[in-house]
């Protein structure tokens, strides 16, 4: 395998299973689109497309320090800090990054290419800008499929609780060994209670 992005996820979810020749080839090649399409089962192809876009962009902005752990569907979640953005139009898309201060400081520092040692407005801004760029890239992909969406400004919350009747994807990852979550929902409402910071 070329890098660590998928190694933990594969080890957890495919341990004991024999991999086909094709799966082994995909693992060896390390193409993120192929890895997601081959090893991740999601509700529909849009989520697969969104996750491919998210992981490629995280790799682009954060480098090799990110690791995929676990993907689950949840109807409620309590967390520390959350930067999120909504896109609406032909499709409603919710995307967020949630984690504790240490993980989000690493993400903010990685994206802004400067070391943040306190979780201040500049760090929020960096996380929100990265979210904006990731969603922008997904909006382009949707537009290529004739699905037009508009981006709303990213918002940052502290001490959050999320709820959704139909559930949202919680993609657990690590940055420099520190856990954080990607939250994704398409055409499913997510309610957030928390302290809006930006």
């Amino acid at each position: 395998m070329k890098d660590m992005l998928f190694s933990k996820y594969i080890a957890k979810n495919y341990m004991g299973n024999s991999l086909s020749d094709r799966e082994l080839r995909v693992l060896k090649q390390g193409n993120i689109d192929e890895l997601v399409a081959t090893f991740v089962k999601m509700k529909n192809e849009r989520y697969v497309q969104q996750l491919q876009c998210v992981l490629k962009n995280l790799r682009r902005y954060m480098g090799d320090c990110i690791v995929l752990n676990k993907i689950s569907v949840s109807e409620d979640y309590k967390g520390d800090f959350l930067g999120c953005q909504v896109m609406d139009g032909d499709m409603d898309v919710f995307f967020a990054i949630e984690g504790d201060q240490q993980a989000l400081l690493d993400i903010a520092s990685g994206y802004a290419q400067e070391e943040f040692d306190t979780f201040n407005e500049d760090a929020y801004d960096s996380v929100c800008e990265m979210i904006n760029c990731i969603n922008g890239a997904f909006a382009v992909q949707l537009s290529n499929d004739d699905v037009e969406v508009a981006l709303h400004p990213p918002v940052f919350y502290g001490d959050i609780q999320m709820n959704s009747d139909k559930g949202f994807y919680l993609v657990n990852m690590e940055v420099h060994g520190k856990p954080f979550n990607i939250v994704m929902a398409i055409d499913e409402s997510v309610d957030i209670v928390g302290n809006a910071s930006a």
């Binding site: 994206y111 400067e114 969603n135 922008g136 909006a139 969406v149 508009a150 981006l151």
Partner: protein, 137 residues
């Protein structure tokens, strides 16, 4: 005396760098853009944090070019374009937006913006757009 504008300083020539005003509510975006513009040889003369601030700074510094974010508090980039064009119909405003926001860009172009660049920023693309805009003078 020969005057060389823009990024390429030539020996024996007076260099008149284009003056640029950056309007963006994101400090991270302003920093990225300023670094790339400076590295490309342009002079960032002022930064503004929203549309209202952008219009005020435009009146103060009379930049050659404005880079204007679209989604901002108080006065968004599209309305700020209208305000600046009212002040100076010859203003050269380049819109800055996240990828995938065609309708906003089209509206800004209708109001008088001359071009657009998309986030995430790429230095070569930014330099090319600014050069093109200046050559259209």
């Amino acid at each position: 005396m020969d005057i060389c504008t823009g990024a390429n300083e030539k020996k024996g020539m007076v260099v008149a760098m284009e003056k640029i005003l950056i309007v963006d509510d994101s400090k991270t975006s302003r920093k990225f853009l300023k670094n790339m513009l400076t590295e490309s040889g342009y002079e960032v003369v002022a930064e503004a944090v929203d549309g209202v601030d952008g219009v005020e700074k435009y009146k103060e510094v009379h930049p050659d070019i404005v880079t204007m974010d679209i989604t901002m508090p108080h006065l968004d980039g599209i309305d700020a374009v209208s305000e600046i064009m009212r002040v100076d119909p010859n203003a050269k405003i380049i819109m800055v937006t996240a990828a995938g926001q065609k309708s906003n860009v089209v509206e800004a172009l209708k109001r008088g913006a001359v071009d657009f660049i998309q986030k995430p920023f790429e230095k070569e693309v930014i330099a090319e757009v600014i050069k093109k805009v200046m050559e259209e003078e």
